[in-house]
């Protein structure tokens, strides 16, 4: 196995302070995306990054999420295999990573997060992620089903009690409206139009972002 990788994995394992753990995580994140795709080495690095999500060190966890996102689709299945029902923090980070990667396999996790996660920042990540699911490689049936789930989630996000989730849903809808087929684009347009209106949306910055998204539509 790659000597450098071994050293980095060991450094993470043996880190004895918050600072050394952050430094070791940074090293690991730097090489992870450049390891041979789907190799044992990359899987080992990804698994190590996933365990870092569950450590009680937000600095290291935030950096590890960045590493997982950089590994793109290679990180998706390991993240899904390791979802920890009992560790809220780790789950929240996993939602963020899946939202950024945009792989359709992460859809169910994002859907559940927007529907029932108690953390606004997690619902926020999910809303943004629902607008970024990559549809290109799906069959027509899968595509339709995925778009329905995305739209339903984004609609929920638009009605969320927290402005930041509504903001993220607007950003998600902008993306979703551009990449999805016509009837979904039309539905996105209507949701955005509602968010841009003062009588419906009370927060100026959300209305402003919705207005910007509407310009992108036209």
């Amino acid at each position: 196995m790659n000597q450098q990788l071994n050293r980095y994995l060991l450094a993470v394992e043996q880190a004895c302070s918050a600072e050394t753990l952050v430094a070791a995580t940074l090293d690991l994140v730097k090489i992870s995306p450049h390891l041979p795709l789907n190799s044992i080495e990359q899987q080992a690095a990804i698994n190590c990054l996933i365990t870092l999500l569950a450590t009680n060190n937000p600095g290291a966890a935030g950096i590890a999420v960045g590493g997982l996102i950089a590994c793109k689709t290679a990180a998706v299945q390991p993240i899904l295999n390791n979802l920890d029902e009992h560790n809220y923090g780790a789950r929240a980070w996993a939602v963020r990573a899946l939202a950024q990667i945009g792989d359709p396999r992460g859809l169910a996790v994002l859907q559940r997060a927007i529907e029932q996660d108690i953390g606004p920042s997690v619902r926020c990540a999910a809303a943004m992620g629902l607008g970024r699911i990559k549809l290109a490689e799906l069959s027509p049936e899968e595509k339709l089903e995925t778009m329905e789930i995305c739209l339903a989630g984004l609609k929920l996000g638009c009605a969320d009690g927290e402005w930041i989730v509504r903001y993220a849903a607007v950003v998600g809808l902008e993306n979703f409206g551009i990449t999805s087929s016509s009837s979904f684009a039309q539905a996105s347009f209507l949701l955005l139009q509602a968010r841009s209106q003062e009588g419906i949306e009370e927060v100026p910055v959300v209305r402003l972002r919705a207005a910007q998204a509407l310009i992108a539509f036209n």
Binding site: S121, M128, V203, V205, L208, R209, Q212
Partner: protein
Amino acid sequence: MLRQMDNKISSGEPINEVEALQRLQQQDDPSQRCYAAWWLGRMRSQHPEVIPLLLKALEIKPTATEAAIAVARSAARCLGKLHAKTALASLIQALIHPDHGLREAAARSLGEIGDSKAIKPLMERLLLPGADEPVGNGLHLGEPCEALLEAIGQICITNKFETNQDFQKSLERFQHHNRPVVASAACRALLQINGNSKWAERIVALLKDSQLLVRRAALLDLAACGWRPAAEQIATCQVENSLKLYALRGLLEESPDNPGPVQLGEREKQLLALMDQLL
């Protein structure tokens, strides 16, 4: 009845306005009164009975029990959230209560209400001898200086209040305070009052402080001023993304450059792009 309430809270069930009013009105359980006041403020309740009940909770003697003080603090905060103009006199009165926490809550709420009649009493507390020196176990200063400074700045900007040199000199005294959050609050008030970028630069420098609490305070101070030149530094500051998003929202909505509803110009697009990256 009380047991039922406890069950509801522990299971996180939402309460409604009527129930919150009942909880605020009852005298048996102070913690329920605190919770009710918090809830009514968060929900921006418009119910006509709310403010009279809160004012009653705020009227406490200097010798009141800890529990009564806790209710009064909660009531003071709620009155600020509700922008209760009729609470002005009571909140000013609360500024002289012996309890530091109550004075702090009252100061913050006076800032939120934004009536210029509060400036004088706020300033009087700020300029008391020993106001900015640690007391007791060193946790607090003699007066809640950070809250007093922020309230003064907020009221001045809300009312476009004309200040003179002496007034600003009084605030400048705090710019080198050894507690960075107090210094930042002074710079924030001065920036709101005279728009001089030197005050903004002082706050921006604190975004790189080694303490998370100081970075957070500096971020919120820049947000309150709507100081847009700091947007990029805010976006890269080492604090939670949720706080950065809140701060960038402040820059978009509170900018002194363009009062009135925010319009989509070039700078606004840049600020929105910074926000998008933080989601």
